[in-house]
Amino acid sequence: MRIRTSFLPVFALLAFASLAGAQSPEPPTDVVISDTPNDAGQSVEVYWALSETDIFNPLNTNVKETDPEMIVATYSIERKVANTHGADVSDEDSNWRKVSEAGAGESHWTDRSVHMGWSYDYRVCSVDNQGDASTWCDAHASVTPTMQAFNMAKAWLAIFMLVFGLFIAYFINHARTGKKLWVRKIAGLEAIDEAVGRATEMGRPVLFVLGIQDINEIQTLAGLTVLSRVARTAAEYGAQIEVPTCRSLVMAAARETVEAAYLSAGAPDAYQPDRIHYLTDEQFAFVAGVTGYMVREEPAACIYMGGFYAESLILAETGNHIGAIQVAGTAMPSQLPFFVASCDYTLIGEEFFAASAYLSGDPLQIGSLKGQDYGKFLSVLILLIGIFFATTVSLTETDESAGFGAGALNYIKYNMLGSEGLGSFGSGETDIEGDDS
């Protein structure tokens, strides 16, 4: 008898548990809605606190004892149009309508299907694996998505771009007034003149490849500037220059560039437009054409300046094979190893852009290069300051969000270089939820 009675509370518990399971999971709480900040009024943010029977809820301390039938599977979000300010609205929208579902453990959803200026109500409930839903938790007030005049999250980005633009504009202007701007020598550039000279001596042509990208690619434009200088040198020495191109627009631009170079070198009659020709758009067919030319004509100098892909290897390898002096320049990091390994000189990344500015002799280009350098200087400075504060914080082992060092670090990382806008200094973290008041 005694044994039987001791079982009773257990039975009662089981009965209670099954009853609760048949009911539904606990509802989510504190549904907060707000207009998405810094947007064009096209979305609304919905936040809620997790249900007590959500196993991802940190407040749900004994997860294992959560009734399996009450465990939240999803949250269901419903929406209703509260006020359209006179605009017509469909019946479907003016009643509660399910707009989304979020998985267990999620407490935020962005509604991107709202009309600017209309007011909306939201409510959220939790649903368990059996499909039983909890009671609804309503948001306290309705929300009206509005458009902001300026995207404050990108304020620092705008500042950087402005500062950068000013640097470049200032130096371009500076150069225009005729002041000489100093730029360091770039090793590969002397090699180009040397290569053209050798080609003249040997009576062989100079091959110039502008990469395989189209005219809207910056590297192709930089390559054209280098081409102009090479063509002028070739015209002065009386060497032949061969320019096969992969795009018809590049061919047109290259012809104009070379013609102008021959003109300025005083040898317009030596200009042969047919030597600058379009082969094909297809990458490997283009390479096959160029390498075929290289093997047949054995140019004494091969110059590759522009955007290259897989063909870089084939070109440089063939050039190496025929024993030509090779100079390359590209901003394609993936192709640099091949050029570095098999060419005599390689202009690496930014050096290539710099070389084009340097060669052009155009004060505007050199000015912008100078501005670029100042931009780099600014970047290094910010990086240094950031590392300094990061190290200080780490050395002093203070709490991440306290003290001046930590405040400065956070400001640099999340405001200046992040997306939290101008914010206020020292607040550690800024309010990312924005406010509608």
């Binding site: 620092w156 980005l157 005219i215 758009d281 780099k376 950031g386 590392i387 990382k413």
Partner: protein, 319 residues
């Protein structure tokens, strides 16, 4: 690639390779259905309901829309029984296709012995077919839904894209890109090529606009942010040497490599030494990049050989 090796030994090596290949091919053809593709037909039928909506049906009635599609029978399911009962038939078009693709693969491979007509023929085909293919998809995937469908929604919905919403009528704003395309094609004319500068300028302006933002955001600002690391790292058990060493090295390497790219300072003295250190780190970077590239290139070759040995010759099981 091997134009500098003596032609004789080259020819010998290739002779042996082709001989071995031919023997294997004959052996494989006698033992299995090498280079054959077998198919089974499948009947598709669609019947309309009262509202004119179609649905698939297994028992087609007269007036329903019907056609037949063919499924490839995998090697493992191809039994003599299936062949005898006629449920599996040899697909001539696919078998010829398979052989052609193998032959084309070998044509290109023949470039290894030097430039030759077979390679040139294959190359000419690549250029033609890929240009044609790209144009076809450009027209069906972009031109029809995004341009034609906006200018003549009714017709496009009726003829090509029944699922499209044509209730909005013609969207006249799209006449602008249509005109720009026509202007672009002036490039092909002997004269008047300058007209194409308008769309090209539009192209370049847009590219400059969004590239600038993209690069500043992802490659400048975000990279500076990623570079901010503490140079003194402590873990649960206090100071940790290796993470600290790595952090310092990362920072030093980034700085020295950036110094190399300064153009307003002469590379002399300390700056020169730093720049030299920078170039060393760049070389390590290129070495890593080279290693990865080699890995990728070899994978491509492996895949092609798997095709030859698997799908075509059936030496290894196809997947």
């Amino acid at each position: 690639m091997s134009t500098d090796t003596p032609q004789k030994s080259n020819a010998l090596i290739w002779g042996i390779i082709f001989l071995v290949g031919a023997i294997m091919l004959v052996w494989s053809m006698t033992t299995s259905r090498t280079g054959q593709v077998w198919i089974t037909p499948e009947q598709q039928a669609f019947t309309a309901d009262a509202e004119g909506k179609y649905s698939a049906t297994d028992s087609p009635a007269p007036g329903d829309i019907k056609w037949t599609t063919y499924n490839v029978v995998p090697d493992s399911e191809l039994t003599q029984e299936a062949i005898d009962s006629g449920s599996a038939t040899l697909s001539w078009s696919r078998t010829i296709g398979l052989w052609l693709s193998a032959i084309f693969t070998l044509f290109i491979l023949s470039f290894l012995v030097g430039d030759n007509p077979a390679y040139k023929f294959a190359e000419a085909m690549v250029v033609g077919t890929s240009a044609g293919y790209v144009m076809v998809i450009g027209l069906w995937d972009v031109f029809v839904p995004l341009l034609w469908g906006k200018l003549m929604p009714g017709f496009v919905q009726m003829a090509f894209l029944p699922g499209m919403d044509a209730s909005g009528g013609t969207q006249w704003l799209y006449i602008v890109p249509a005109i720009l395309i026509v202007m672009l094609l002036f490039q092909l004319m002997p004269a008047g090529g300058w007209i194409s500068r308008w769309p090209i300028a539009f192209f370049i302006g847009i590219t400059a606009g969004y590239r600038m933002i993209g690069y500043v955001e992802a490659d400048l600002v975000a990279q500076i942010r990623a570079g901010i690391v503490p140079l003194w790292i402590t873990g649960e058990s206090g100071f940790e040497f290796w993470p600290t060493f790595n952090a310092i090295l990362l920072t030093v390497a980034t700085f020295s490599a950036m110094v190399y790219f300064f153009f307003s300072i002469e590379h002399k003295g300390l700056v020169g030494k730093t720049a030299r250190l920078g170039i060393w780190f760049l070389m390590i970077t290129f070495g890593a990049s080279f290693g990865y590239t080699v890995m990728g290139r070899i994978a491509l070759l492996a895949a092609r050989l798997e095709f030859l040995f698997g799908e075509w010759l059936h030496f290894i099981p196809t997947s």
